[in-house]
Symmetry: C2
Subunit: 699 residues, 2 copies
């Protein structure tokens, strides 16, 4: 018996004779080499079972545990799982992407599958309509396997390419002018050195340093590692003293990370990576001119461990940080591969990387203990990271690539916010700016070039589609814009890519609720006022719902509806954000009219309707001119830091300048939150223009 | 078929199913896990031969190649070697230490063994006496195995503990006062940190840095690696925010290499290591007070690859640098283990290491390409080394221990000379000092606090016992002092440890030749003048020889003699050294009377008789008062650098200040060398006091 090499909490008697390690059942049955069994690719299971027998407590060989095969269409993937495992477990093992917002608790209703053949043991759920149940829909986390089964991933939940606002050229245009001088972390210097002679017998390394000095490198602060020293003599002589040196610039010193024979070095490629809790975005950049040559994005595979950072940390505590790290790395590496293949370049030419993410995301990526982030007093292990080598993290780039991780000042205000501030430039301006990032967490920064204060509130995932029956991210087919005809109450919807509607994203929800309130479909508490027999009124179980699109217009052949719980969830989210910045302002004695600029960022969608956001009560009712919507500012800041040493230094300065205000024990926050659980707000005086509009439409 | 993992030049069909690697015959038969097969300890040979069969070209299993077993006494070790292998090969495989000065060319006659059982095929050699041949003596490198054989390592060649000038306490006394303030590279700082709270929510790393700042650490220049970041959260909380941080101080930055729970850090242990081509010395030092708590020394196991650095480099080119690196590492690690066991301490507490050695030795230790050292224009790959981590080299110390390697300015003036200069302090003094290190290479430094010039000449290994029939290092039983009665020509000898004589070391040879010349036993050319029938005259073959000790007084039951070739070798060695410093002085226009101090260092023995060294013509005939013999100055400088940052910095400054003068194309050197091939010199005017003494004794 021994401890499983992947799951040290498990004792097992399966020993691999090839690797001299123990592996548990879970490893033996895995199909995902990245997730469970790093040895699997070189180690077929038969090798293990031949090598040893599994023994029971009395030392006897027990009967082999029955496993059931689960086939997934349309992926064509499959997994063997023990009887009693859930379809969600099986999907994980088969590497089939399924959104499981609530981490398998049966609460979100997102992990829908259709059983096509075979039977499963399922717990009854109100989260599926009768129509769905008839069609064989089940929730993956609530269905246990008892024999071989074939399931299909329904059209509406298949992972689609996220819409990144514009690809390559468009992004390049948008980012143009943000970097004046390119100064990468990994610099390549080509030199023609003079050969040694009896009159000039300095060592190879000193000869190299002499050349570097001529190229402006401070060699007194430049280290060199043993592997490079070992290759030095050959590398320098191989192409007749023509060499290309790669130098990694760190905060307080530099390091020669490679010396290669020959000249003609290209500055190489860079990566800007935004690791969102939900979505990961990768820009592949030409370091010579700053062009974005490819952009890719995808769902963070950690989604199978829950929607928000708290669930991810819980999962890391239970299954080890390694698991979460592997999940996010496999997502990122897939995106890097796609980007490199798309651009027709070699990923080994990637020498510079900037990673931006919230504190939990960066901890999980780097396999750093996250458990104290969620425990009072909410302490991250690391705020500012040294420049790391790609090889030590496992990113698909040159092993010597320099990796800069955006620093984050607090457990709930992370590097993504610092990156956003960097991108918007508010830390360099006289004007007082309020920066609001709406994601699963709502983060708020207030300040200017002299001071910065920040806070965070738990907004919940509603704006990104979490906890909303037909909520989804801003993908192809999501409803991003809604207007409602005041008399007929008929909606006019617009979807991303003008595809048949599959659900509704954040911007769509904001417009929908704003419109429903102004047209009187709902009241200020978010309760339906429309007659139950109105053609646009439906129900989910007992609960009334507004029908946004009828089944015959959707690819799922299901009505897309918005229920009172959905409205309630959204109100709670917007209430938290509104309470957040209100309390922050109150605490430091700043009123709305003192603010010169409001910046909104987040993953709602492409175009945020400011006026409707005010109507909802998400944003304050002030001059619309001062509002600016920036979309994903985290990736923008990462791009800037990728290209410029000045910007990397600014990131550190922003992080250090930020004062964090904790709301967790703040009673004012709870009061403000409660007041904001109205449309637009309990206190209508704070929303004069909305009041006026409401009066107008009422007349 | 595949490439052998240890010998990539060999194709083999032996595949290890356990490690998925190929291993060649040499690996399959090895007995030395360190030298040949790193997999052997976990991989018994049966596993390999079971896994696959060896195939011949037609795909058939060929007849197994015959091997012969060689047993060595008194070690009790044995090896299987193919028929036709030499006993030297067999000794290497069995890890039996044999001195093979000439690297198996059959030229030095050192690798004597006695065949006790079985037969070998031997080449006839004049290097063994008839008496020896009768007793079954063979030369290991000239004897090929043709069947099973038992051999004995003769008493006189068994490795003995070298005499390190004094152990622990004695060394400590000698070194006292050389370091005023202890400032290790790896500093341990114990701190009691304040626990985090909502009012003080800084990250774990920032909390640690805050503590370090209070302890005087410049945290802006302090890096931290990923492995430490990963342990940080647990380490800090494990003992209630009491932690001990290990910080490695490098030239231009520092690094947190470990954070451990709890307080009460001891400054730990340090190692000063002198890697000589022939001898390795290790001091184990208490970093708290600088006490040397153990000292060990042993023969550099690279000796099996030849006596001098050129042979070692040739061997590295032929067999790979790895082999040489492994040999020296295994020697050092054995010595460290002995020292740690002797002192009753844990080698994992060793946090600081300083290594001093010549340029070839440091290159081989660190597996850095040495081949250009021996090729014009004689370029070392690295002169100054960054502080390295012990784990990256493979030293038996804490894996995070900081390793400082003494810098060396040229291929033939290395870190050992810089260390010696540091130890003698000549670089800080007004007085003009001539520093002469006599080893296999003779290195010369001239200068003071304002300038340093250096050169090197190939002295040959005679003073360390190489190329001398009964020559040996300054070990127990070596003759270290000789006087000869002028009338009877009877010698009075003194051995180290007052043991029966086993050979003669450098100081003994200097005294012997000086005495033989003054008593007229030899003339100024080194030719014998004594009657052949004098009881003290013997012969080796045709060659006359002076008998220093008769067989019945020696443990080998053999006469210890000194032949004319021996005398010639020694004259050539002293001639090279004398020519070296003479040319150096001439070139820069300094005469002997301008020199304030002459320092002699080297491995001759404990006590050098200056007057007799002058009589020999090794040292100039000037005021004896200004001569100082320092023994091993390289280890002394290493000790100082181990304890003090100032001294480490000085080492770099000395290295940079040294101007190297190359003699390889210098005709003046050849002239001076030829003139010095007399006793004491062709030009007796340069040796007035010796001339006077010669006239005196002649009368």
């Amino acid at each position: 018996m021994g401890k499983c090499v992947n799951h040290p909490e498990t004792e097992t008697s399966y020993k691999c004779m090839k690797h001299n390690i123990y592996l548990c059942d879970q490893c033996l049955e895995c199909r995902d080499p990245e997730l469970y069994c790093k040895y699997r690719s070189s180690c077929p299971i038969w090798f293990l079972s031949k090598g040893t027998r599994k023994l029971d407590e009395s030392g006897q060989t027990p009967a082999r545990e029955a496993t059931c095969r689960v086939d997934f269409s349309p992926d064509g993937k499959s997994a063997e799982v023990p009887a009693g495992a859930t379809l969600l477990d099986a999907a994980g093992k088969a590497d089939v992407y399924i959104n499981a917002s609530c981490n398998g608790k049966g609460a979100c209703g997102k992990c829908k599958l259709i059983v096509e053949d075979g039977e499963v043991e399922k717990t009854d759920t109100a989260l599926l309509s009768d129509n769905e149940k008839q069609k064989g829909y089940v929730l993956a986390c609530q269905s246990r396997v008892k024999g071989p089964v074939s399931v299909r991933v329904p059209e509406e939940t298949i992972e689609r390419k996220l819409r990144v606002a514009g690809m390559g050229e468009e992004i390049t245009r948008r980012l143009q002018g943000r970097v004046t001088e390119i100064s990468p972390m990994l610099e390549k210097i080509s030199m023609e050195l003079s050969p040694p002679s009896l009159d000039d017998p300095v060592s190879d390394l000193d000869r190299l340093k002499r050349g570097l000095k001529k190229n402006g490198i401070d060699t007194n602060r430049t280290n060199i590692g043993l592997p490079v020293m070992r290759q030095l003599a050959a590398a320098m002589r191989n192409k007749n003293w023509n060499v290309t040196t790669s130098i990694m610039h760190k905060a307080c010193s530099s390091e020669v990370v490679a010396v290669e024979p020959g000249n003609g070095a290209h500055p190489g490629l860079g990566l800007a990576i935004d690791i969102g809790t939900t979505t990961i975005v990768v820009y592949l950049v030409d370091m010579a001119d700053g062009r974005v040559i490819a952009a890719t994005s995808g769902h963070n595979r950690q989604a199978s461990c829950g929607d928000d950072v708290i669930n991810r940390i819980v999962c890391a505590e239970k299954n080890g940080v390694k698991k979460l790290s592997t999940l996010v790395l496999s997502t990122i590496n897939t995106l890097i591969r796609e980007a490199a293949e798309g651009a027709g370049v070699d990923f080994r030419d990637i020498g510079n990387v900037v990673v931006s993410g919230n504190t939990t995301m960066t901890h999980l990526l780097l396999e750093i203990e996250p458990r104290y982030i969620r425990r009072e007093p909410y302490i991250p292990s690391i705020s500012e990271f040294p420049v790391l080598k790609s090889g030590s993290i496992g990113l698909k780039a040159n092993a010597n690539a320099a990796v800069f991780v955006m620093p984050g000042p607090a457990s709930y205000v992370g590097g993504d916010i610092v990156s956003g501030v960097l991108y918007t430039g508010l830390h360099r301006q006289e004007e007082l700016t309020l920066f609001i990032d709406v994601g699963t967490n709502g983060e708020i920064v207030l300040g200017n070039k002299d001071w910065l204060i920040c806070a965070s509130c738990s907004a919940g995932p509603a704006f990104e589609g979490g906890g909303i029956r037909w909520g989804m991210r801003a993908e192809q087919g999501s409803i991003e814009s809604v207007t409602i005809e005041p008399v007929s109450f008929e909606p006019r919807i617009k979807t991303i890519g003008d595809e048949p509607p599959r659900g509704i994203c954040g911007t769509g929800m904001i417009e929908l609720i704003s419109e429903m309130m102004l047209t009187g479909i709902i009241d200020q508490r978010g309760k339906f006022q429309l007659d139950a027999d109105h053609p646009r009124m439906g129900a989910v179980g007992e609960e009334p719902a507004y029908v946004l699109a009828f089944a015959d217009q959707t690819p799922m052949d299901e009505d897309i509806v918005f229920t009172e719980s959905d409205i309630d969830n959204l109100i709670r989210s917007k209430g938290a954000v509104y309470a957040g910045f209100t309390v922050l302002l109150n605490q430091i004695g700043v009123s709305f009219d003192m603010i010169d600029r409001v910046i909104i960022t987040g993953g709602f969608g492409q175009f945020l309707d400011i006026d409707k956001s005010v109507t909802l009560g998400l944003l304050p009712d002030i001059d619309r001119e001062i509002f600016h919507y920036y979309g994903n500012s985290s990736i923008g800041g990462a791009y800037m830091a990728l290209l410029s040493a000045d910007h990397r230094q600014s990131a550190g300065e922003i992080c250090n300048a930020m004062t964090y205000m904790d709301f967790s024990t703040n009673t004012a926050f709870m009061d403000e939150f409660t007041s904001a659980l109205f449309l637009p707000h309990t206190n209508l005086e704070q929303f004069p223009s909305v009041s006026a509009k409401m009066r107008e439409t009422a007349n």
